[in-house]
């Protein structure tokens, strides 16, 4: 797999696993944004959380920043943790991407270096702290396995997300007084 790959046509890209997987990760982090948004909006004057910084805040809302902020007890610390983790990952992520772009060709087939194994391990490590939701994770994994052979790339993750949403919605009691 050394050398330039053929450029996919737009239709092929729409079926591209990378785009769909990216969107699924985006969906997961979008929901992180939801919980962080709840935290931030409960006190808009908190350090750097509210107002015009929200566009930037949305950009650095990722698993790491959401997890660090959720682990803090008070709001100011939660905001500091959010920005420290978010901007820290942003800087190192882009530095690593640049390094990959500069020396990537010299590496040859990334599979030889186990990079596909590293990606699977990374998703597992991100899931690990959430394994208290064992039942949902198991159902989602099962849905993904069942859908994998019959659907185009990206669909298994979205189907699993839909199954998890359904589990969460119907198995949680609605708030008192809500419809």
């Amino acid at each position: 797999m050394i050398g330039p790959e053929p450029v996919p046509a737009p239709g092929a890209l729409r079926r591209s696993p990378a785009v769909r997987q990216g969107f699924s990760v985006g969906l997961a982090t979008g929901l992180d944004g939801l919980s962080f948004g709840a935290l931030a909006s409960s006190s808009p004057r908190a350090w750097g959380c509210g107002g015009g910084g929200r566009l930037l805040a949305a950009h650095v809302t990722i698993d790491e920043s959401a997890a660090v902020s959720a682990a803090q007890d008070d709001l100011v610390e939660a905001c500091r943790g959010f920005w420290a983790a978010g901007l820290g990952v942003f800087a190192s992520w882009n530095a690593a991407t640049l390094a990959g772009a500069l020396v990537g060709d010299a590496l040859g087939d990334p599979r030889r270096w186990g990079l596909d194994g590293a990606a699977a391990a990374a998703f597992l490590a991100l899931l690990w702290p959430r394994l208290r939701r064992r039942e949902t994770a198991a159902v989602a994994a099962l849905v993904a396995v069942l859908v994998l052979p019959v659907a185009p790339a990206g669909v298994p993750v979205l189907a699993a997300a839909a199954a998890a949403a359904a589990l969460g919605w119907w198995r949680t009691r609605p708030a008192r007084g809500a419809a």
């Binding site: 929200r54 186990g114 194994g117 490590a125 993750v157």
Partner: protein, 101 residues
Amino acid sequence: MTGWLLAAALACLLLKLAGHLLPTAVLADPRVGRTTDLVTAGCLAALVVVQTVGGDGGPVLDARLGAVVVAAVALLLRAPFVVAVLLGAATAAGLRAAGLG
């Protein structure tokens, strides 16, 4: 091609921004909190599956499975994120160098 990539990136950003701009009242419902929590866990569980056994024509078992097993053992032993990822890469690379997967 670039257009599709930009569109997907923009959709992700808007999704995240929507989370930050939602009114607090929507988030007060514990049902919403629990559902978003579970969707995140579900997405990640599915991504583990797809990244581990996903292939062009259906599930494939190869060196990636070994990588995930080793990473799981490392995480059980409370290894940090980076260590688990590096062990996963080393395992997959090692298995392939040995001619497996």
